[in-house]
């Protein structure tokens, strides 16, 4: 646990960045890879290590950072939804409705999809919780953040190792 304290800090930061509406606009595809890179840097600083980072360590730090980001991101998103009974599904539902109406698909499928999301919307409006929404948030956050974290760790380790090899850079 202590070994991954830097991943916890950076994962927390990335998780927050992913859910705060204003900050979210900055959270392009770089936020999780950058968090993984930063966690490796922090770990190097904390342990005073001048050794090159192995790919195994890099990917582990990336994955753990992604997992923490997913954990905090999901928790905050689901908690805010529970308390406010409002989220992006509610606010974008009219737009989604218009969009679905515009697609060249059979009326049965349109009705089925709209009913599905109408149910999710009503559950959130009344209880602040929807099983389908929770499942979708957890699946998305854990899969995407873990993969992007691993990528950030692998690429980040090469940048750090390059600086160790060429301290003048």
């Amino acid at each position: 646990m202590k070994k991954y304290i830097s991943a916890l800090i950076c994962g927390f930061g990335a998780g927050v960045l992913q859910i705060v509406p204003f900050l979210r606009s900055f959270s392009c595809c770089f936020i999780i890879p950058l968090a993984a890179f930063t966690s490796l840097m922090l770990d190097q600083r904390a342990t005073n290590s001048k050794e090159k980072i192995s790919a195994k360590k890099a990917i582990m730090f990336g994955i753990v950072t992604g997992l923490y980001a997913a954990l905090f991101g999901s928790f905050f998103e689901l908690f805010i939804t529970l308390v406010t009974k409002h989220n992006d599904i509610i606010s974008t539902f009219p737009e989604l409705q218009r969009m679905i109406e515009g697609f060249p698909v059979t009326p049965e499928i349109k009705t089925e999809v709209l009913n599905l999301f109408q149910n999710v919307r009503e559950e959130i409006l009344t209880k602040g919780f929807s099983l389908l929404y929770t499942f979708s948030v957890l699946m998305n956050n854990f899969i995407v953040n873990t993969i992007f974290g691993a990528v950030g760790g692998l690429v980040g380790a090469q940048i750090i190792n390059n600086r160790i090899n060429n301290p003048s850079n």
């Binding site: 992913q18 979210r24 606009s25 900055f26 959270s27 392009c28 595809c29 999780i32 192995s54 790919a55 195994k56 890099a58 990917i59 991101g73 992006d88 599904i89 989604l96 679905i100 515009g102 697609f103 060249p104 698909v105 059979t106 499928i109 349109k110 089925e112 999809v113 599905l116 999301f117 979708s136 948030v137 998305n140 956050n141 995407v144 953040n145 992007f148 990528v151 692998l154 690429v155 380790a157 090469q158 940048i159 390059n162 850079n169």
Partner: protein
């Protein structure tokens, strides 16, 4: 890296890239409509999805902005090239930094109103970074495979 691994990497990137165009895929199979809201949520984790910055096509728009679409296309195109040739050369990290300069310059210049946001510039600068970025992802995966073997 063995061909099988390169093929898996290409397929993963192809699937990820195809997801961006799910609105277009709906015209081929209506059932993709069920996946649309789920995928919108997926890509919202890695892109701001500002309406004005999405790429438009026949009957829809991409699920990521022009810049992110460029980055993922760059990754996909270079992974396709790597399917046919297993490059073993190590690339200096400065290439990655240089390739990110046009993208960051574009972000800064349009943010301070030197010029208006251009999807073409955003897409091109993303494409450049994505293409070069793949070399480092590939190298990282290569190192990992070598370490696992030892």
């Amino acid at each position: 890296m063995r061909f099988q691994y390169r093929l898996i990497l290409f397929i993963v990137l192809l699937l990820w890239f195809s997801g961006i165009f799910v609105e277009w895929l709906i015209s081929f199979d209506n059932h993709f409509l069920f996946a649309l809201p789920f995928l919108q949520k997926t890509y919202s984790l890695v892109c701001h999805q500002e309406k004005a910055k999405l790429l438009l096509f026949n009957n829809g728009e991409t699920l990521t902005c022009a810049r992110c679409t460029g980055i993922y296309l760059g990754l996909l195109l270079v992974s396709f090239i790597f399917l046919f040739k297993n490059f073993k050369k190590k690339f200096p990290v400065k290439f990655l930094l240089y390739s990110s300069v046009p993208m960051f310059a574009d972000v800064i210049l349009y943010s301070i109103n030197v010029y208006h946001y251009s999807k073409f510039i955003a897409f091109s600068t993303g494409l450049l970074l994505g293409s070069v970025g793949f070399l480092y992802l590939y190298s990282g995966l290569n190192n990992l495979i070598l370490e696992m073997k030892n």
